[in-house]
Symmetry: C2
Subunit: 248 residues, 2 copies
């Protein structure tokens, strides 16, 4: 299919759309991105696109991705669609399923769980109206979940599968590495104190090395340096002083 | 591949493993299920299988699914792997991506969000130690999120894509219908008062009709009647009197 790749996502935050940008940027693929529109216009396009049509059902939330007649939602789904096309889902056909499992696990643990530290009661009400619960959840999350997640990824990187390679599937770089990079990057923004302590503990050296190694990949580095890279702000990863707790 | 299908999941709750059981049961496929083991033995198998090996990375949590050399985790990933093999992912190749998007949306909204109503602060501490926050989250969830989710699914079922068929993709039954069924079924267990009110409101007739229609499919009906169907209890869907609030 020669149709263009079209990312439909909100402007103003990296959010879940950032994972789609990273896979396209790493591959050097050309794509359109509604984040280049003015905020009102962008919102209008997102709302209209969510309606589906032309053989597609309505979808619940962006990111949305269009390729010809196909319109799909859900971050992991979009990545899984693009992975093999862009050569970033492993070399064996069966690797695509392993890569999707790893990507989903990173998105669950280090994106959804982190998001919910600032909105534990409801995403439909303001942070300020659930501040107390947010602080409690942050404290618990940093104490028990953060070490569990970092420990899991360290184990993957030291496992027989990953072996002596730098990446989650060993010598082969895949989009799961990009997803984990973005999740670690965002978690550092939200919990700088705990993440610095985790880094200095020496217990998760392979995880932080992966973060460095992804940043250093030429296409990723060039993208991160561009203005197009959205700043963290009011999205998934937010910094609140009261939530910036220490690792035990 | 003639290798057997093996589901590796905890015994004692339907949980996320139930989605995998439903697709296999609907298709009449044979499979092994660690839920038939004694509880201790089952836990041991789950823990050991999470380690990966033989070309597979370690995984974070069950359900796990083995098919020959391939071992994968993540509910939506397992379903997407099985969907086309069992003829339950639509007839066009591109439908698999639409079905996965719908399945992920149901799992996010009516499984993960419902789970978090009883564990809003942390899944690492007891419900009793986050009871107050749980009641608050339940109230907010029923008020704003439940109608939003039910309204979304009603819209899908009335859309151009679904049209006059009974199912999410119209005339074609797919595993997304099974996922939505299980999510509605569990949400009815957790929030019977609000779900009864939703049903009686007449605003979501297509959604509740889908629940009925899936239940009535011969293989599903036979499975639901068997002892093998695990009871809701301490898993994703729990009933707490204090959380059983009314729809506004």
């Amino acid at each position: 299919m020669d149709a263009p790749y079209e990312l439909i996502y909100y402007v103003g935050v990296p959010g879940r759309g950032e994972h789609v940008r990273l896979i396209l940027e790493e591959a050097g693929a050309s794509y359109t991105d509604t984040a280049s529109l003015a905020m009102d216009e962008c919102r209008e396009v997102v709302t209209k696109t969510l309606e589906g049509g032309q053989g597609n059902p309505p979808y619940f939330a962006p990111p949305l991705f269009r390729h010809g007649d196909l319109l799909i939602s859900q971050t992991s789904n979009i990545l899984m669609y693009l992975g093999p096309k862009l050569g970033l889902a492993g070399s064996k056909e069966s690797d695509a399923w392993r890569v999707n499992a790893l990507a989903l696990t990173a998105l669950d643990g280090l994106s959804n769980e982190v998001h919910d530290t600032h909105h534990p009661i409801s995403i439909e009400i303001y942070y300020e109206d659930q501040k107390e619960e947010s602080t409690r959840r942050s404290r618990e999350w940093v104490k028990t979940r953060l070490p569990k997640h970092l420990g899991y990824w360290e184990k993957v990187l030291k496992s027989e599968k990953s072996g002596k390679g730098s990446w989650l599937l060993g010598a082969e770089f895949t989009y799961a590495d990009l997803v984990l990079f973005q999740c670690i990057d965002g978690t550092q923004f939200a919990f700088p104190k705990a993440m610095n302590q985790a880094k200095e503990s020496g217990k998760f050296d392979r995880v932080f090395q992966l973060w460095e190694d992804v940043r250093a990949r030429p296409n990723v580095a060039a993208y991160l340096a561009r203005e197009k890279r959205q700043k963290y702000d009011w999205g998934i990863y937010r910094y609140y002083l009261g939530n910036d707790v220490s690792l035990e």
